[in-house]
């Protein structure tokens, strides 16, 4: 099997995307962060480094909660998306 990019994999999933963000990061805290674990811990790689800034895009989020636990600085304001929105697994 050929290896597949993460974007292509996420595109297979079914999402009902809400306009409301369910996760946000506190940039002020991130600026002081050296380990930046959010960049690698997320299975959907929702966190990206844009220049010096941590950006977060929630569309591909699998709602696992790893980022919330892994960021020890508490910079991530994490909730579940509104009921009915977000990932909808068809197999699971």
């Amino acid at each position: 099997m050929n290896s597949m990019s993460l974007e292509d994999k996420l595109a297979l999933n079914k999402y009902d995307i809400d306009e409301e963000l369910h996760i946000s990061v506190n940039e002020d805290i991130c600026r002081t962060c050296r380990n930046r674990v959010c960049l690698h811990i997320c299975p959907a790689e929702c966190f990206k480094l844009l220049g010096e800034k941590i950006t977060y895009s929630y569309e591909g989020c699998l709602e696992c909660g790893s980022c919330r636990l892994a960021c020890s600085k508490g910079a991530i304001n994490w909730t579940y998306p509104r009921g009915g929105f977000g990932i909808a697994y068809q197999y699971g």
């Binding site: 595109a11 297979l12 999933n13 079914k14 009902d16 009915g84 697994y89 068809q90 197999y91």
Partner: protein, 266 residues
């Protein structure tokens, strides 16, 4: 208080990942994707929404009707959860594109319900997109119809509606009973509240057979033969990328414009 009937249909989720949409070219049928539940056609949700707004404005009793397999009861439940009062399932599986048969069965069901001042349908079913059912019902019942309506107001026994035409809107007044199909512009359908779902779950939803409403399929002949589905296929999409060069941004833009004109895009 007026009596409103809303016709709804359960369809494949139009929001499903495109890769999951598969058809069987042999039988010209859509293969139901595994694991993706059916939903109420979003345009029909808007029809329910329109009825609910009238109810809020001047009081109404809303009855929802659907024709489909037994799981179509979920479409009715969803509408009740949004705020409709009653619901009926007519159990019969119709090929999606057979609008005539759909409308015929709905008409018979509506006649059985007896009390109606206003019948609301979605613009079209979001799967086959025929958009004919509302008009055929009106014709069969011998009452007026306005299609693609963006606004409905009830004034005593008359309706004031705005409907969309090619280059603008048109304001019309018509007597009741009437059929209205709502356009997308009528606005977003509400999400059911928790208590809405609870009271919908507690309601008994009657299921009618074709016999119950006096439909005899052998009498009406093969409606589907009036439409023949020639070919069902998924269009192939081709994507390409060209980089338009230019020494300066202005030159690149000019070249781009040229290319677009050549491709007859502009």
């Amino acid at each position: 208080m007026i009596n409103i009937i809303v016709c709804v249909k359960q369809i494949l989720d139009p929001e499903m990942p495109p890769g999951k949409f598969k058809i069987d070219p042999e039988s010209n049928k859509v293969i139901p994707p595994e694991g993706i539940p059916l939903v109420v056609s979003p345009f029909d949700e808007q029809a329910v929404e329109a009825a609910l707004r009238i109810k809020e404005q001047c009081g109404a009793k809303i009855t929802v009707v659907t024709v489909g397999e037994s799981s179509a009861v979920n479409a009715v439940k969803h509408s009740l959860a949004m705020g409709a009062d009653e619901g009926i399932v007519v159990e019969h599986i119709i090929e999606g594109y057979d609008s005539l048969l759909t409308a015929y069965i709905l008409t018979k069901a509506i006649e059985e319900i007896v009390a109606y001042d206003l019948i609301i349908c979605g613009r079209e079913a979001a799967d086959w997109g025929s958009g004919q059912v509302g008009s055929i019902i009106a014709e069969s019942l011998g009452i007026p119809v306005v299609a693609r309506t963006r606004k409905i107001e009830v004034m005593d026994s008359r309706l004031k509606v705005e409907h969309i035409i090619e280059d603008g809107d048109e304001s019309l007044e018509l007597p009741m009973p009437a059929v209205i199909t709502v356009s997308y512009e009528i606005g977003q359908a509400r999400i059911p509240t928790g208590w809405g779902v609870i009271s919908a779950a507690r309601k008994k939803i009657p299921s009618w057979s074709l016999e119950d409403i006096g439909v005899d399929l052998s009498q009406i002949g093969d409606t589907s033969s009036r439409i023949k589905l020639l070919k069902l296929f998924t269009p192939t999409r081709e994507r390409g990328c060209q980089i338009i060069e230019g020494k300066t941004a202005a030159e690149a833009a000019a070249n781009l414009a040229l290319r677009l004109r050549e491709a007859k895009v502009i």
